[in-house]
């Protein structure tokens, strides 16, 4: 580039003072980066479609005239009593073992899965953030007790507790949400605690304290906003975990009780029919996989968008790759996994336990 052209550029920049430089907040930057991430956008679209399908499930039920737990013994099963395949007798995705419309049941299953996923994640995030903040900020014996508790919950075999609870109480939506929330907050707490420990030593916290701010104000007004990024990433990555959790409980028969359809319970029923009805297994599996994959990809996308240091395997990869010299491939600052502030959800390495 010649000197004259640079001068020309400089000149043209000066002559356009009305183009004021707009300050962009961290969130705006993140949002812009996310919008350039094709995979993340696709994930958002998939999730939106799922949510809309779940909300409009009753509409589809009335359009087709098939209620979710209505068994069509004549048209919905073959003469031998087996499920009918996709497209037969107006059953878009076939029927299940007693002739119920699989398509409608999967739509209603989406309601359960998404509801459980989002509600439990909301509860777990609220509890996890509060407990993590309290443990990290107050320190001392409060921290010791809470940190021990967090470790215990993280290491507890959750299915065992779910089994024990199912043995005592009749399985219900409330118990499912309770169990999943109980085992989800701890991972969030651990990260929030770690972040709080380092944030509370910062100068601006000291300034707030010297201005007379109390501990609660400091925790929730001064520290919390700085944690929202990692918490948002974690929450997004917890939704698919909760969805899988619910499906697993329902699959084992200790989740959402019949006749409410859940993807897990549909797949449990399908177990006895996989030799005669592939659709019975494949379609609910696909619904489940697409949903969890979309949330996982979105979570990864948000994490990448928030942390410019992380390597973006999928999005805008070619552009960044070209600029990178091959020699620096192994240097972690460029190529490393997620930065420590953005770890994987419930799978954080434990601190050394002496």
């Amino acid at each position: 580039m010649s000197v004259t052209s640079l001068e020309f550029q400089a000149h043209s920049a000066e002559s356009a003072p009305e183009q004021a430089i707009e300050g962009r907040s961290q969130w705006q930057l993140t949002w812009r980066r996310l919008l350039h991430d094709k995979i993340a956008i696709a994930s958002i679209l998939v999730i939106l479609v799922m949510v809309i399908l779940a909300i409009t499930a009753p509409l589809f039920a009335s359009l087709t005239g098939h209620a979710p737990d209505q068994a069509f013994t004549n048209t919905g099963t073959t003469s031998t009593g087996a499920p009918v395949g996709p497209g037969t007798h107006g059953f878009l995705l076939g029927t299940d073992y007693i002739g119920r419309d699989l398509f409608i049941r999967i739509l209603y299953g989406a309601r359960v899965s998404l509801f459980v996923g989002i509600v439990t994640t909301a509860i777990a995030t609220l509890a996890g953030v509060s407990i993590g903040l309290i443990a990290g900020y107050f320190g001392g014996w409060v921290d010791t007790v809470l940190a021990r508790f967090i470790d215990t919950v993280l290491a507890f075999p959750y299915i065992v507790l779910a089994l024990a609870l199912a043995a005592i109480f009749t399985p219900s939506l409330t118990i499912v949400i309770g169990v999943i929330s109980f085992f989800s907050w701890a991972g969030i707490s651990r990260i929030v605690r770690g972040q709080t420990l380092s944030l509370k030593e910062k100068e601006y916290i000291e300034a707030a304290r010297s201005l007379g701010a109390g501990p609660w104000r400091i925790m929730f007004i001064d520290i919390l906003p700085n944690l929202l990024g990692p918490v948002l990433v974690l929450a997004t990555l917890y939704i698919p975990i909760a969805v899988i959790f619910e499906a697993t409980l329902s699959f084992l028969g200790i989740g959402i009780p019949e006749p409410t359809p859940s993807w897990g319970s549909i797949l449990a029923e399908a177990q006895n029919y996989y030799t005669v009805a592939w659709w019975y297994v494949v379609f609910p599996s696909v619904a489940l996989l697409v949903t969890t994959l979309a949330f996982n990809l979105l979570g990864d996308g948000i994490r990448d968008a928030m942390d410019p240091r992380t390597e973006r395997i999928f999005a805008a990869g070619s552009q960044r790759r070209r600029r990178r010299r091959p020699g620096v491939a192994a240097v972690p600052a460029v190529a490393g996994g997620p930065a420590p502030e953005f770890p994987d959800p419930p799978r954080q390495p434990m601190p050394p336990t002496p």
């Binding site: 993280l154 290491a155 507890f156 075999p157 959750y158 299915i159 065992v160 089994l163 024990a164 609870l165 199912a166 043995a167 005592i168 698919p240 899988i244 499906a247 697993t248 699959f251 084992l252 028969g253 200790i254 897990g264 797949l267 449990a268 399908a270 177990q271 996989y274 030799t275 592939w278 297994v281 494949v282 599996s285 489940l288 996989l289 969890t292 994959l293 949330f295 996982n296 990809l297 990864d300 390597e311 395997i313 790759r321 491939a329 192994a330 240097v331 972690p332 600052a333 190529a335 490393g336 996994g337 997620p338 994987d344 419930p346 799978r347 390495p349 434990m350 050394p352 336990t353 002496p354």
Partner: protein, 321 residues
């Protein structure tokens, strides 16, 4: 000396944890109305006479404190009661199921660690290569895949077609090691793959990130400067330090592993601990459930002690004390 003290301390803490679990189990199951517990313990078709007999035999009419001491005493002596339906001691049922569950767990864990770590190491040493990208996609798919979905898809996609074409090595159900190593592996291979795939995803991600971090350390540069081969640098210097978060993750995942085993046994009809405990819940077989909960907790406690020891062996900075 240090090791002995460490072991004693960990075992004592482990006993405390087990005591807490047993107490929790007792509170959950036995502090409900006496008739409800007695009816559950006596089975579905029990007459009122049988129920009152159960109440007397088990001392359900005694004060809670006395009952609690009885329960602890019985549990400490591994006296876990009898299954309602078969009248077989719960201890015997658990002992019968254990080899099946152990077959699933051991093979699954070995496969998952081998696959998870090797893919992670190769991905890290060739960051952003085609292999790394494919592995990353695979990891996301694995993270998004519920165990039972993978199991059922394997049955439809592998087991059924193979058996239709006369290849009958791969089977569902269980065959003991006494039927021979090859048939045993044929029955176990799909459960192992199922259990390993979902878990290996996490370990691939973890070991990749951890190794990438480690490879940027000064002592790795020193090792390279000494003229060591890249292979030796990675395996002897890099991997050892990179393994510590992986091992500690293993401690966290033991709980998840139990859940996975229950599901895998359900999908492949393996009559192990998980299968029987789910059945026990369906039939309301309370003693079996209590036995399973206690055994599972003991397993988690013991496994965590082992993991902590491995941790200390790998990382010289962690002193056993």
């Amino acid at each position: 000396m240090g090791l002995a003290r460490f072991l004693v301390r960990r075992i004592l803490t482990g006993i405390v944890v087990l005591w807490i679990v047993a107490t929790g189990t007792f509170l959950l199951f036995f502090t409900r109305p006496v008739e409800v517990v007695a009816r559950e313990l006596a089975g579905r078709s029990a007459t009122p006479q049988v129920i009152s007999e159960v109440i007397r035999n088990l001392g359900l009419n005694l004060p809670l404190r006395v009952q609690y001491l009885h329960f602890l005493d019985n549990t400490a002596h591994l006296n876990l009661g009898f299954s309602y339906y078969s009248q077989v001691p719960v201890k015997t049922i658990l002992a019968q199921d254990l080899p099946i569950t152990a077959s699933v767990v051991v093979g699954g864990v070995v496969l998952w660690l081998i696959v998870g770590l090797s893919v992670g190491v190769v991905s890290a040493t060739r960051a952003r290569s085609l292999f790394d990208r494919v592995a990353t996609v695979g990891v996301l798919a694995g993270l998004s895949m519920p165990i039972f979905v993978l199991g059922e898809l394997l049955i439809i996609g592998v087991f059924l077609p193979l058996n239709e074409h006369g290849i009958t090595w791969i089977q569902t159900g269980y065959a003991g090691l006494s039927t021979g190593l090859i048939p045993w592996m044929g029955h176990m291979i799909l459960p192992w793959i199922t259990l390993a795939t979902v878990q290996a995803a996490v370990y691939t991600r973890l070991s990749r990130g951890s190794l990438l971090d480690t490879m940027g350390e000064d002592y790795i540069r020193t090792a390279r400067a000494k003229g060591l081969s890249e292979r030796r640098v990675i395996l002897r210097h890099g991997l050892r330090a990179a393994l510590t978060p992986v091992v500690s993750q293993l401690g966290i995942d033991i709980g998840a592993l139990l859940g996975g085993v229950i599901v895998v046994e359900q999908v492949f009809s393996l009559p192990g601990l998980g299968f029987d405990s789910v059945q026990a819940i369906d039939t309301g077989n309370l003693p079996v459930i209590i036995g399973f909960v206690l055994l599972a907790s003991a397993f988690v406690v013991i496994a965590n002690i082992i993991v902590d020891m491995a941790y200390a062996l790998l990382d010289p900075r962690v002193r056993i004390a």
